[in-house]
């Protein structure tokens, strides 16, 4: 057996003659497509734009924070910047990111279906997302909004004189996109699996999509209606959440976090799903503890609904309420720990290759561990009292969301890039920017833990001079991080034309998506595959065919 170097395509491949990409080149053929793969690509392009917007806001913020005095922008501008940064990054980038791009693209492929259960609904989701996104970003052009992404009342409902109503309208609309995507995934997973694809043969990515979809379906409507109430309160001047008019501001916080805590799991569960795919493929090993990883996703989804009050430890909720939420928050950490340990154990006796996606996967495990464990500081009420609303929180969630979820998203882009486009990304550049992102990330956000414990409050645009040194480090790191994100943008675009042709399965990965051509044909599979083995059965992968029973496209005689 004389195999080629790692990373190069297994079969001397050529591009398939027809694929979902060749199925029409007009703008119209894209904008009216019902193909889940094309919709995935539509999301990918729009997400990139929103990420860049959010990132640019972050860079301006970091520049401002390089000096203690507020000298670059005005206080009001700064407040608008972090608000738009938070809103765009959460609602328009990270919540949709992996589900909307890779969930859409891969879910049907992974379970051997021709499409999602409701293709038209899927397209509608994208339009809702774009509409919501355009309204939200349009607000920035029209003067911005300065409430923070949390919209705490009565500031947002009465005192802020920025454009709150339009912003919540935008998020409301985008929320329905999330709901419909979740619905589509649930039904697809239940009803569209190929023959033989039992629940415990599904790739873990599908499990995590399923858990995510449950949260999207059940939590998002609460956010939608809550924001709608804020809008009504502002428009009609009534007092739903304003104590001066008989309302209760804490009720708003309960309703908001009832969505927004589960939402953090909307952001991390898909990332965890990606991790399971990456770790298995690049160690050529079945996942350690499949059932444990699968059920921990569901455990996170369910427990995640019970801990919202941990964002309100100092808000004036009752002491015992606080303690209950604290206990439950500790509990929800356990399934995450289970996952981390199982991924690590998967490496044991594997055949490990450090290609770009695997570097991102390692980055995820490390940074998520730090981010998650600092979550335990926050779940300890006695410590949270000191660090809440300081940079410690900012560091905690960036570690999980940027260090964790965005890393996983980047890993996913590199891993499935050949499947999406039919071409390889340049390996050296891939590794280089993965390392750059890792370094830049830690330099940006690690100092923020120290700042937070020192007591620097968040959402401060000017600060006490003794905090400067650490802030300068953070700002310097952000520049490196920004560069780290721009590089992939450049070389991936380059690879669209010049990248090596990938062939159906360049990484010799398991999973039905790798049994069809890259890029896949419009209807995914020549024939609906019949599944006869569990997921990640690397050990008995046939070296000749890479386990491909059905090979569509050019490989088919």
């Amino acid at each position: 057996m004389n195999m080629t170097m790692t990373g190069t395509p297994y079969t001397p491949a050529k591009m398939p003659e027809s694929s979902y990409l060749t199925d029409g080149y007009s703008l119209r053929s894209w904008l009216l497509t019902k193909d889940h793969k094309r919709i995935g690509i539509l999301y990918m392009v729009s997400l990139t734009v929103f990420f860049a917007l959010g990132g640019i806001a972050a860079i301006i913020m970091r520049l401002e924070l390089a000096t203690p005095a507020g000298d670059l922008v005005r206080a009001d501008t700064y407040n608008r910047l972090f608000t738009v940064h938070g809103i765009v990054m959460i609602f328009l980038f990270l919540v949709p990111s992996i589900p909307a791009v890779f969930g859409n693209f891969l879910l049907p492929l992974m379970i051997g279906a021709r499409d999602l259960a409701f293709p038209r609904l899927n397209l509608l989701s994208w339009y809702l997302y774009m509409l919501g996104g355009i309204i939200t970003v349009g607000v920035v052009v029209g003067g911005g909004v300065d409430t923070g992404w949390t919209f705490y009342t009565p500031f947002s409902s009465t005192y802020s004189n920025s454009n709150v109503v339009w912003t919540v309208a935008g998020i409301f609309v985008a929320g329905f996109s999330s709901i419909l995507t979740g619905l589509n995934f649930i039904i697809t997973t239940h009803k569209m699996r190929a023959p033989g694809m039992g629940w415990f043969r599904m790739p873990l990515f599908v499990w995590s999509m399923y858990a995510t979809a449950l949260i999207m379906l059940l939590a998002t409507p609460v956010l939608a209606i809550t924001l709608a109430l804020v809008g009504v309160e502002r428009i009609f001047g009534v007092g739903i959440f304003n104590p001066a008019l008989g309302g209760d501001p804490i009720l708003f916080q309960h309703l908001f976090w009832f969505y927004s805590h589960p939402a953090v799991y909307i952001m991390v569960l898909p990332a965890m799903g990606v991790m399971s795919e990456l770790v298995t493929c690049f160690s050529r090993h079945r996942i350690f503890g499949y059932e444990f990883v699968a059920f921990s996703s569901l455990a996170i989804a369910v427990l995640g609904f019970l801990v919202w009050g941990h964002h309100m430890f100092v808000s004036g909720q009752s002491v015992y309420g606080g303690l209950m939420f604290s206990a439950l928050s500790f509990l929800v950490a356990i399934p995450s720990a289970v996952k981390v340990f199982n991924w690590t154990a998967t490496l044991y006796k594997g055949s490990i290759s450090l290609q770009t996606p695997m570097l991102y996967a390692f980055g995820f495990i490390g940074l998520f561990t730090i981010g998650g464990l600092t979550g335990l500081f926050l779940a300890s009420v006695a410590i949270d009292v000191h660090v809440t609303d300081t940079y410690f929180i900012v560091a905690h969630f960036h570690y999980i969301m940027v260090g964790g979820a965005v890393m996983a998203y980047m890993g996913a882009i590199h891993f499935w890039w050949p499947k999406l486009t039919g071409r390889m990304y340049p390996e050296w550049w891939g590794r280089f920017s993965a390392l750059l992102i890792f370094a830049g990330f830690n330099l940006t956000f690690f100092p923020q833990f120290i700042l937070g414990y020192l007591g620097m409050p968040r959402r401060y645009y000017s600060y006490a001079p003794e905090f400067q040194a650490l802030n300068v480090m953070s700002s310097a790191g952000a520049t490196i991080l920004g560069l780290g994100y721009v590089l992939p943008l450049a070389y991936l675009l380059w690879s669209l034309k010049y990248g090596a042709i990938a062939g159906p399965n360049p990484f010799r990965a398991k999973g039905l998506e790798w049994t069809t051509a890259s890029p896949p044909p419009t209807h995914n599979f020549a024939e609906i595959p019949i599944v006869t083995e569990e997921a990640y059965a690397y050990h008995d992968m046939d070296a000749e065919t890479d386990g491909r029973e059905v090979v569509a496209g050019e490989d088919r005689p």
Binding site: D146, F377, V381
Partner: protein, 312 residues
């Protein structure tokens, strides 16, 4: 204020070292697991790096392993929970003899009033070695009173009291921050906490005290707003009320703390005292935040006048 570069905040309250101890425990746990994972990954990635295209053999899931890495973290979190809960309960029960200071937050300043009527803005002078309890409310949006050196923080809400206590241990000047985002100048809603030796503090207090204490001013308001007209006859007496247990018309009992007094004035219908008609008008919107605070100070002063025998 010492503004030199540092990596760890000053400890200047009785609670601070205890919070820090728990913090160090968590740092140790975090460091341990992070290193564990890190070392494991690096080791495994090198030890089992890909040497050939042959597929590695299967490894079986090990139930004992799975259980141990479920149960051990669980036990560790139990320790964290127990420890933090004990500490938090301590942090949320103010000592009985605490000195009480009123704080009012508004966009974007802190107004502070001492029991003897001394007032400060964005500054709080306190003696070392005496527990202090802050009774706080906001005139507009939510703020948050945060003293990093004391490791304490509490949101300050409109239309309701919240409280916070601490006991300073080291004289000096410390930061006061508003930690809940409250609009344009949120980052300028800052100030100083000045901790003084008791003797110096008394001298300072005597120097700034006005003629009238808040309780005295409250007494006047009690007359001007017509509270006198009812209380004593048609309404319950105020003497000895504060701190006592009140029986309500619906059969339940409440302790008459600041929050209860506030509610009884602002929205009396919410909790009606047993044996009385709900005829008292609601004063919401009629009284400013400061006036409410003074009325309450007055009612509280009557506790001592009545010798506290109304306390069961």
């Amino acid at each position: 204020m010492d503004q030199g570069f540092r990596l760890f905040p000053k400890e200047a309250s009785t609670i601070a070292p205890q919070v820090d101890l728990l913090y160090f425990f968590l740092v140790a746990v975090t460091a341990f697991f992070t290193l564990l994972i890190f070392v494991a990954i690096v080791y495994l990635a090198l030890r089992y790096r890909r040497k050939s295209e042959a597929m590695p053999p299967e490894t079986k899931t090990d139930l004992r392993l799975e259980l141990s890495w479920t149960i051990i973290p669980f036990l560790i979190t139990l320790v964290m929970f127990g420890w933090s809960t004990r500490l938090f309960l301590k942090m949320s029960t103010p000592p009985k003899n605490a000195m009480e200071i009123h704080v009012i937050g508004k966009q974007w300043m802190w107004k502070i009033e001492h029991p003897n009527g001394a007032r400060e803005i964005n500054e709080l002078h306190i003696p070392v070695g005496r527990p202090v309890r802050l009774i706080m409310s906001s005139q507009d949006v939510i703020h948050s009173f945060f003293i990093p050196a004391f490791r304490v923080k509490q949101d300050v809400l409109p239309g309701r009291f919240s409280s916070l206590w601490f006991e300073a241990t080291t004289p000096g000047e410390y930061h006061l921050f508003c930690a809940e985002y409250c609009g344009t100048d949120h980052s300028r809603m800052t100030g100083r906490i000045v901790v003084m030796e008791p003797a110096k503090f008394e001298a300072w207090l005597a120097g700034v005290a006005p003629d009238e204490t808040p309780a005295k001013q409250g007494e006047k308001l009690f007359t001007t707003y017509g509270c006198m007209a009812c209380h004593g006859e048609r309404g319950p007496t105020m003497a000895g009320l504060y701190g006592s247990t009140v029986s309500l018309a619906d059969g339940s009992k409440v302790v008459a703390d600041e929050q209860y007094l506030r509610e009884s004035i602002v929205n009396p219908a919410a909790k009606v005292v047993a044996g009385f008609e709900p005829i008292m008008p609601a004063f919401q919107g009629q009284l400013s935040e400061e006036q409410i605070v003074r009325l309450i100070a007055y009612i509280k002063s009557l506790r001592t006048a009545a010798g506290g025998e109304a306390n069961p």
